[in-house]
């Protein structure tokens, strides 16, 4: 049996992608282990809803598998491309949410321990934030999410969104202002009083 060390150790994502495209199942497993958590996290933060986030995550990974045979090393980093894919899939979902039913009903917790109540409040807040994002123009929602939810720097956001850094700054500033206005009337409801956030 082959007991050599993992030949993929330290391999860049793009190399794994090429290996996968050539039929290597181990590359697929390693890519999944690396990429799926990031993709799921980004989607969960933008959508505030676990089920929808999982759907987006699976869709995004499907795009990874599909693009593998055509992946060009010199075009973009896999991570940059994937941020864009997830952001677009999320704004698609948010657009549908705008025209559909608000998903803000959160089930009453069966247990009322402080931690369960706190968890429910966090879920409510995340869903409220996500619904507020859905009311922004999509480019603003993406810029704000990449900046404030993913913590990315403006130059990287500019690459992901294929715009200038100045445009990123403008979008994030306007988006953040708009979000603050949308959320303003909900402070008490979300457990914030005028002194400090809970």
């Amino acid at each position: 049996m082959n007991v050599s060390p993992d030949p993929f150790a330290g391999a860049p994502d793009a190399a794994l992608l090429v290996a996968y495209a050539n039929g290597d199942g181990q590359a697929a497993r390693l890519l999944t282990a690396r990429l799926l958590p990031r993709v799921l996290a980004q989607a969960t933060r933008m959508l505030g809803n676990q089920t929808e986030a999982e759907d987006v995550a699976q869709d995004a990974m499907m795009r990874v598998w599909k693009i593998a045979p055509d992946w060009r090393q010199d075009e973009a980093q896999v991570s940059t491309w994937l941020y864009r894919v997830v952001a677009n899939l999320c704004t698609d979902r948010l657009r549908k949410r705008r025209s559909g039913v608000s998903l803000e009903e959160v089930a009453e917790p069966l247990d009322t321990t402080p931690s369960a109540v706190a968890q429910m409040q966090t879920q409510e807040r995340m869903m409220a934030l996500s619904n507020a994002l859905s009311q922004l123009p999509e480019r603003q929602a993406q810029a704000v999410s990449l900046r404030h939810l993913e913590g990315l720097a403006n130059p990287e956001i500019a690459q992901i969104m294929d715009i200038s850094v100045r445009s990123v700054e403008s979008l994030t500033a306007r988006g953040k202002r708009a979000l603050a206005d949308i959320m303003a009337g909900r402070k008490a409801e979300l457990g914030y009083d005028d002194d400090e956030p809970e």
């Binding site: 082959n2 290996a19 996968y20 933060r45 999982e54 699976q58 060009r72």
Partner: protein, 120 residues
Amino acid sequence: MTMTNPNDDMLDDLFAQAREVKPVPSDDLMARVLADADSMLPSSGVMSAAQTSLWARIMDAIGGWPAVSGLAAATVAGVWVGVAPPASVEDLTASFIGDEVSISLFSTDLMFDAGALGDG
């Protein structure tokens, strides 16, 4: 620099909470994603199991990815993918390992006639 606008404070707090969200993919989600990967694998089986392990041994011989300097990772993979007939591998191995080779990326169809390699 930040205006302590209460609305901004709330928003900043919401952002901070959102950044803390780090869900772990469930086993079920992992399984679905891997099943998708399987279903999207090229059916032509570009690399057989034997060639896959051969590639792994070649990478071992090179010294792994950190040792592959001067070559884009995809270029390396593309080179080895094109080496379809096992008979010619050993000759090519000798000529590629240890050299800084500038190789243009192959077309998206990574399967190409091994005979064409002789011209390159």
